[in-house]
């Protein structure tokens, strides 16, 4: 039986699968079919092929041989960004109708008098209020006005709205009124989908909780229809395995839970890449990895520590649209192969964030692009071969014209300008990595950099050097990284509960029973995905802060019954984590619990090792050509990366050409191919 990962991205649908006993592996890359994404998914399964030395063997995986299909998708994020969903309704406390529109009343751009804010997720006319009030202690101050509530239910029914977010102030401490409201709504609209903010995430701070609940209500019909359709198409093909979906926190859940909690799917695409980096962390014994993904328009950076992706609770879908779930901390900047070089009015060379995209694309694509891009620069420096292995004919002259226009403004040669563009762009990428690493108090020198995406391995060594990172990994499955990661992810549930208590005043019984309840909730959720109790791993954390602060820091909490002694060590841990993240800490302040979290995971089956059936004695070196590095043209060997054998050793300068990407080893770098086909590079100086 096969375990299959499918990642549906904006342009390509990638597949990676392995046979559960033999460890045999297959991959596929087909075009995404945006009108009906299931078409691409099915095509990928049918085209899945073993990589062999010379030709690509077409075989496909029989649908009835798939035990488990793990799926990552950007459908949820796209629907939100385009606001393309049937309008939901919002029912909220009187006086809070506009919380999801006003946000925190600040602006994105400090000095732009013409700026506009993102459209609210739900129009004002579909936001309704009812008189009611629960106070900060969870006591009822004003009962729910049932007459008003019924009126609202009738109005929503008349609008023909079926997806409703119920968001009352202070429901994180007591959601009774939200539940009463749900009962009333269901009485009037029995087929309504109703999301309660106190159940979606019972955490304080209404803006984030309301927005997250509104997101859930908006996505509910979209993702329900999407998954139903996908499952139906797969079943028609003979699939009767389990369909698992990637979640933003870096785990998977069954499709039924995914339909109930679509708000957990916003990083469903990129999560797979981070999981692959986590897998590599174990495989190559490097616990701390920076996961860097560079494509045509953007560069995404995230961190893996101890094999797990670093998580944030401060994700914003768009400006002032916070999602308060634990999500992988992925930082994105506009730097990619299509990023455009330009000279600003002060005479400085800049690169990006504007991109030539796929239309017109880089000048060398010959589609009318007149502005110089990173791809054009790489071509001029000899780092890209003009046919990309016979796939396309890049127009060197067009690239030269485009770059020379910028070069003239700077008074530099074309080649110098191309080189400067690459270096500046690598610095911008390094900056993105720093945002993730240094802002969270980590030292880049403790990390290795893994590089995914078509444009990644060309720049990885330069980015690493700019960060003082000594080692770069170009993984064997870099071209289908997210799909690979999908197959090795744990089934996972993250649950959380508000409990504010200064550590000195904590009621231990309450603390212990709160964790016990959370664990039980998580286990029950996992059981729905057929995880047996003995396979569950529980990881406790708490969101903590000093009494009086506003922002929390995730602090590890030990297992078992917590005692007074345990509280002392929790306080010590908190001081240490605060020091790591913010550079300061002090025991003159009291730490406080703000909310308690449990991540429950069930490890997935391990990927069996597999020896590739490569022929012996093949020559990977193809040719050589002149490539520009650091101010000079150097005669540089060109290798077919696809057929480099484990144990191969290479010296920079060298160019390695793969099916979907090109790796550049600058002078001073050294590389070896490990037993699993990963290229391990010491970037040198």
């Amino acid at each position: 039986m096969w375990r299959v990962g499918v990642d549906v991205g904006g342009t390509f649908t990638d597949l990676f699968g392995w046979e559960e006993t033999t460890g045999e592996r297959v991959t596929a890359k087909v075009l995404t079919t945006p009108w009906d994404r299931s078409v691409g998914v099915i095509e990928a399964v049918k085209k899945a092929a073993r990589d062999s030395v010379e030709a690509v063997e077409q075989s496909g995986i029989p649908f009835d041989q798939i035990s488990c299909l793990v799926h990552g998708t950007t459908t949820a994020t796209n629907a939100l960004i385009e606001r393309s969903y049937p309008t939901p309704a919002l029912v909220t406390t009187q006086g809070f109708r506009d919380t999801i529109e006003i946000g925190r009343q600040h602006r994105q751009d400090l000095y732009d008098p013409y700026q506009v804010k993102p459209k609210p997720l739900i129009r004002r006319r579909y936001r309704y209020t009812v008189p009611q009030r629960i106070n900060v202690k969870g006591e009822e101050e004003r009962p729910l006005d049932t007459a008003a509530a019924q009126q609202v239910a009738e109005t929503i029914k008349a609008e023909n709205i079926r997806s409703i977010a119920v968001c009352f102030v202070n429901s994180y401490v007591n959601a009774d009124h939200e539940r009463q409201m749900r009962d009333i709504l269901l009485k009037h609209i029995p087929d309504a989908h109703i999301m309660l903010s106190g159940e979606t995430r019972p955490l304080f701070r209404e803006h984030g909780r309301f927005v997250t609940t509104a997101v859930s209500a908006a996505l509910k019909p979209v993702m329900g229809a999407y998954f139903d359709h996908l499952l139906e198409r797969l079943t028609q093909q003979g699939f009767d395995g389990s369909l698992l979906i990637l979640k933003s926190s870096g785990g998977v859940m069954g499709v039924d839970l995914a339909k109930e909690h679509p708000e957990e799917l916003l990083e469903s695409g990129p999560a797979g890449g981070v999981a692959y980096a986590g897998y590599l962390a174990d495989a190559i014994h490097e616990p701390s990895i920076i996961c860097a993904d560079m494509g045509g328009t953007s560069f995404d950076a995230s961190i893996v520590e101890d094999g797990k992706g670093l998580v944030t609770r401060e994700y914003e879908l768009e400006f002032e649209l916070p999602i308060i779930l634990p999500m992988l901390d992925i930082h994105s900047v506009g730097a990619g192969g299509g990023s455009i070089g330009w000279v600003d009015s002060g005479g400085s060379l800049r690169v990006g964030p504007r991109s030539a995209g796929s239309q017109p694309g880089p000048a060398c694509y010959g589609n009318g692009g007149a502005e110089p891009t990173i791809t054009d620069a790489n071509l001029l420096l000899g780092r890209l071969e003009p046919t990309l292995g016979g796939k396309i004919n890049l127009d060197r002259q067009a690239a030269e014209q485009a770059v020379s226009r910028v070069a003239e403004q700077l008074g530099l040669s074309t080649v110098e300008t191309a080189d400067a563009m690459i270096q500046i762009s690598c610095e911008i990428m390094a900056q993105a990595v720093k945002k993730v690493i240094i802002n969270r108090g980590r030292d880049p020198r403790d990390f290795v950099l893994t590089s995914f995406g078509g444009a990644g391995p060309m720049h990885a060594c330069f980015v690493a050097r700019a960060m003082n990172i000594p080692k770069v990994i170009v993984p064997a499955a870099a071209g289908v990284a997210s799909a690979f990661g999908a197959t090795v992810m744990d089934v996972r549930q993250d649950v959380e509960q508000f409990m504010y208590a200064p550590i000195g005043e904590v009621d231990l019984d309450r603390l212990n029973s709160a964790y016990a309840e959370l664990e039980q909730t998580a286990r029950t959720l996992l059981a729905r995905d057929n995880v047996s109790a003995e396979n569950v791993l529980i990881n406790r954390t708490a969101q903590m802060r000093y009494v009086g602060q506003t922002y929390e820091i995730e602090t590890p909490i030990p297992e078992g019954a917590l005692t007074r002694d345990a509280l002392v060590s929790i306080a010590d841990t908190f001081h240490a984590v605060h020091k790591q993240e913010h550079g300061v800490s002090s025991d003159i302040f009291d730490p406080a619990f703000v909310s308690l979290s449990v991540a429950a995971t069930a490890p997935t089956a391990a990927l069996p090792s597999y020896k590739s059936v490569a022929a012996e004695n093949i020559v990977a070196m193809k040719s050589s050509r002149s490539v520009y590095f650091s101010g000079e043209w150097i005669d540089c060997p060109i290798y077919n990366g696809q057929i480099l054998q484990p144990g191969a050793e290479l010296q920079g300068p060298a160019i390695l050409e793969y099916l979907d990407s090109v790796a550049v080893l600058p002078p001073g770098a050294q590389a070896t191919v490990d037993t699993q086909g990963n290229l391990i590079i010491q970037v040198g100086r």
């Binding site: 506009d98 110098e416 300061v584 002090s586």
Partner: protein, 604 residues
Amino acid sequence: MQSSALEKTGDSIKNRAGLDHITFEVLRNLFEYTCDRMTAVLQRASFSPILSDMVDFSNAIYDPEMRLLSQAANVPVHLAAMKFSAHAIRDEFGIENMKDGDIYVVNDPYRGGTHINDISWIKPIFYKGTELLGFAVSRGHWMDFGGGAPGGQSWGTHIAEEGLRLPPIKAFENNEMKPEILKILLANTRTPHFIQGDLQAHVGCLKAAEEEMQSAAERYGLETIKAAMAELIAYTERIVRKKIESIPDGVYTGEDYADTDGQSDDPVKVQVTLTVKDSDITVDLTGSDPQCLGAINSPKANTHSAVFYSLQFFLEPSAPQNEGMFNPISVVLPDDCWLNPKWPAPTIGCTVLAAPKVASAVWQAIANALPERAVGSACGDCNWFVCGVREPDGKTDVFSDLPAGGWGGTPFNDGMNVTMDPLGNCMNMEAETAELMFPIAYEAFDIRQDSAGDGHHRGGVGSHLKIRFLCEGAMSVETARTREGTPGVNGGQRSSPQRLWHLRADGTQEIVGGLTEDNRWLNPLLRGHKLSYGDTFWFETTGGGGWGNPLDRPVQEVLDDTLDEYISVEKARDVYGVIVDMATRTVDEAATTALRAAMRTDDA
């Protein structure tokens, strides 16, 4: 490593100030990043809500000669003022006497400060302990330094009523705080529980800057860093001057008013004469009213900030914010003027009350220079209130918030709804955060219908904020635009004025600031206004000014605004000439065409 590669290319890339393009671009980004990182630390590690929730602070780095290098001014009104504070330290101690491990502090409005609550911490940064690399400055609004009312909002006639004034002093030596200074700070505040946590956060953010600057020097060497600093300033100056050259030479004027100084019922005038000549701008405030008795006076540093930040919107806001943007602009301050006061004039209202009036007057002058880019004014105030609270058990605290209004309509779109005035970029308190910390309940923070200035592109709408007291409260308020609303442009209309209400637990209610129902105007600068248990304080904020004639607004947009209740059916009819039937959610097209035609004739 990277530096060796750069040295090789250095010969072939045409040098500018001894730098190549790559190193320049890298360091430009690095200096910006440094300030961003300072911001991240201060926001997350600080204790008082005005810093962590409301983000009323700014951070900057300076070169060894104390020229501004980069700034993350979350609060534009800190833009130029931080430099004045840093220079006050320089003038007091002399750069040559500063040592590694020193941190200096100042908040004196008459020694480089603005109002007492804005306190600046200044740390010289050294490379290898001896070579001066520059300075890091972290400025934050601290909740309370004592004085005659919580938050210093005593609306008195003497600076001494506004709290503890710190002249330029050295607070840290060898990275250790002098204990007596901490004792003085703790003894002169209503909120001692915030002091050490906020202090720790400021220190953390200065250390973060030090780390970044030192590692940059490690990588590029001291000389390259210094060359990059000089070039960065020249670079910004080039960009800004180019922009100024594109504005037609000429003399342009603008004016605006504060409603009151709190001591008299007379409005207080700002007069701006803006002269553009080649690549220079002079902003002359001659003609503005004399120094006020009341507490809205704007010290030199604050007035400079207001001029610079308001121009920034129409010059090159994306250029690195450094000394280079100040060089082409000069400010002329008359001697006896509320925008250039002398000790002992009180100044608490300078940042949020005086500065936006200066800015609004500058924007009007700019509108005359660049009519095609003119925008309606923004709400023009941040409605900052500070409230002392006392619970039945005697426990006291100080609570603060700043409900926003709307921004002006623009040639391209409507103004932003409920967004902090350009002077700052502070966030509001969330109800659930505030209720956890203070004995109050938020009853509303939502959109105020019909508050926007109408227009082809209307202003953004203002808000209602309602807070119920579960304790005794003493409310002080800084606000304006209570006599008339925000001005529009190009035929756009004014917004509705702001109003302050006191709703009593017994169900009675009265207006306590602004225009009453019978059109009397009440001074809205409340000082310790008493609220009892169960009472509700209600703030109605104003919208932004409109842009263009409301009759030119497309009918569909008026319909949408009506259905979304940003405007009322009456407003749609009386101002926009659009007849909306709420029951059918349609427009009576024929009646609308006729009404709009008639209204146009009336106008003409």
